[in-house]
Amino acid sequence: MKRIGNFSCLITSVLSLLVIFSPQALAQTDVSVQATVSETTIYTGERIQLSIQISGSFNEVSRPSLPSFPDGFRLLSNTPSTSRSYRYINGQSSTSYSYNYQLIAQQKGEYQIPAVSVTIDGEQYATEPIQVSVVDRNESARSAGNQQPDIFLQLEVSDSQPVVGQQIISDVVLYFQDGLEVNSYQPVPGWKAEGFWKEELNNAERPEATSTIINGVRYRRARLLQFALFPTKEGSLEISPYKIIVSVRSAGRSRNDPFSSFFGNLSGNQRQVELQTDPLTLDVQSLPASENNSYFGAVGSFQISREISTKQASEGASIEITTRIRGTGNVPLISKPQYELPEGLEVYEPKETSNLNRNNERINGTKLFTDVVVARSPGDYTIPEQKVSYYDPDKGSYVSQALPALSFKVTPSPNQVASPAGNDAMPVRPVTGLASWTTPASVSLLSYWWFWAGLLVPLCLLVLAYRQKTYYNRMSNDRAFARSRKASETASERLDRAIALSEEGEIKQAYNLLQKAITGFIGDRLNLPEAGLSNEEYIKALDNENIDAELVKNIRMLLDKCASISYAPETTHEYLKSHVGLAESTLEKLKKVL
């Protein structure tokens, strides 16, 4: 029973798979149903064509089920013009149906062409609604009084108030009036969008011109180029004018054929025009405050993963931690999330690679950051779980993601087994043995005694030397000063000689010398003439100096004695010595007062 039951299950499963993966079922997975209109802005009374295009692999398709159109439009015929094509490429067949309906605009206003439903192989499909503007022809004619340019260039952005890092699409759009034919265009290099990271989007299709009405004038509109811009800072940022050189021709074309191709033939009245867009200012909003510091600069929609190159490595070997950020948004501007790495890891500059896809309107791609770390010592290491956040402008909030913890083991390097300290490469060994110990003392230079000694001693020497020099100079140049300074010395010499003469028996000459010693001393001290003065004149000079009377009296007595000794009987040596002693003491006193 059990075995039969299993067999039944197997049969049921195989049949189910056959049903699910039948050619029909497989074909329906890539069916596309799209609705387009020939123009999105038209005058009242004009016609537009509504096209329903069905493509893919399918077997049965119903005619589109038309909705009730808004009051401003009327369906001209329920019977569409149809076309069908069939392709078979690489074993895959595909069919395309096109149903075209004509609608006429009856009233001015903004209208929405509702979704059209189609049944394909029993499945219901619906198109997207389409907005169409209907302009009153007469009102437009009145408002179109001012002159409109026949051709101009415009920069159109998808969002004029993006947040920092959010991608906006910037279209370079050419508008030209009917009657002009654009043959070619050439962008002028050097366009700058300061404050933005810009990427030109790949657009392989030829520009298609559609018709539109601006201020009552019908223009044909063609998107020439498309850029993705990422604001890098907040505030009012200006996009500088974009320039192109357009080759146009102004004749020989059907003026009312909005479906004709964009580029015409090179003939007729051809000229080259340089066009530039107006500068465009965007108000870039700052990102809302992040709850934690896990935001790493990504704006868009991303998937973030982190992996490690190995779970086990030897000491000193490099280990790579790869962070992969994949998604849509400001991929080029993303910076590496910061990780808390355990102690003991040496971190090198991360490598950074990115891969961008510019084929869609939204830049997408992958950015890889590879951290290279080297463990300097063996052990178990764990890089903890890390929360990272990016800002999703569609959601208007931060999206957080946790990157799991990474663990790895580092084993001792076989090359370092011989050295227990693990410092083979280190050229220096610890110093052992006696060390020369010091105790630092930071003292001011001014606190050294020898500084002051070295400074003051020579200065004192200088002062003394100056005084000595001045003395010598005066002794040489000032005779009165020199006599005065030498007076005592001269007097003393004379007195000594007087004693010597007395000892030799020349008493009278000795007294003569004693008189000279006294008068010479007084003359030298008072700067009197050296000869020709009487004793009385010397005494008088002393009186003029207000010398003590007793002292003057002694001098007078000595001088009188010296004068009278020539007439006196012979005197003794002892007698002279007593007079010399008296003279010495008297001159000593006189020296103090003169």
């Binding site: 040496e346 971190v347 220096v428 010091t438 500084f451 070295g454 020579p458 020497l461």
Partner: protein, 239 residues
Amino acid sequence: MAHAQQGPQAVFDEANNLLAQGQINQAISQYQQLENQQKLAGALFLNLGIAYQRIDSLGKAKYYYLKSAKFPETREQAQEALKYVNTQFSHQSAVLPQLPWDRATRWLQDNIGETRLLAIGLILFNLGILLFIATWFFRELPGLIKPLSFSVLGLTVIIIAAAFYTRYVNNRYSTAVMVTQEAVVAERPLEEAALVSRAFEGYTFTVDHKRSKTQPKWSYVRMSNGLYGWIPSKEILVL
């Protein structure tokens, strides 16, 4: 407490034994005890650098090697160790050459020293004064002696001024080493201030103590690449 009663050499020997046995943290603790007691030696700083290098704290290792290089007895080994440790850092800072005046001041500091410079200045001052006095009393001396004495005195003024300026520079500016993994050097001493540069472990700075005094938790630094800014003081060790 037992260690406090031991001489510095005994503690040093004990720390060396611990280092040789691989008990690095204990060895560091003992070495730092000596450092805290202001018992300093080139060998102490060299061994501290080696110990920190063994526990992969390369910023501190560099700091102590730089300190050790100031002692003549370990200068050569410290410079070798510095050369090695500098190759181990994950980030290397660009180095802007010093201005000639700064280089001259640094040379005077490292090779002569302010005290010796001052002594030389004083000797020359005495010599200049004696020569000048001699011209007063010994008229038979050559006429060049007087201008020579003035030249010597002029030189003296320059040398003594250089000694005081070198001391001033030495007191105002110090070398510092970044000992944490990464830090921000900011334009102002605030967490949210504009970034000047990022600094990484092992980067050296010149700290301006005069400006840093105004901010207790920040230091005003000149980076090796010539940029100036504020760095949190906890990120660096000042020599």
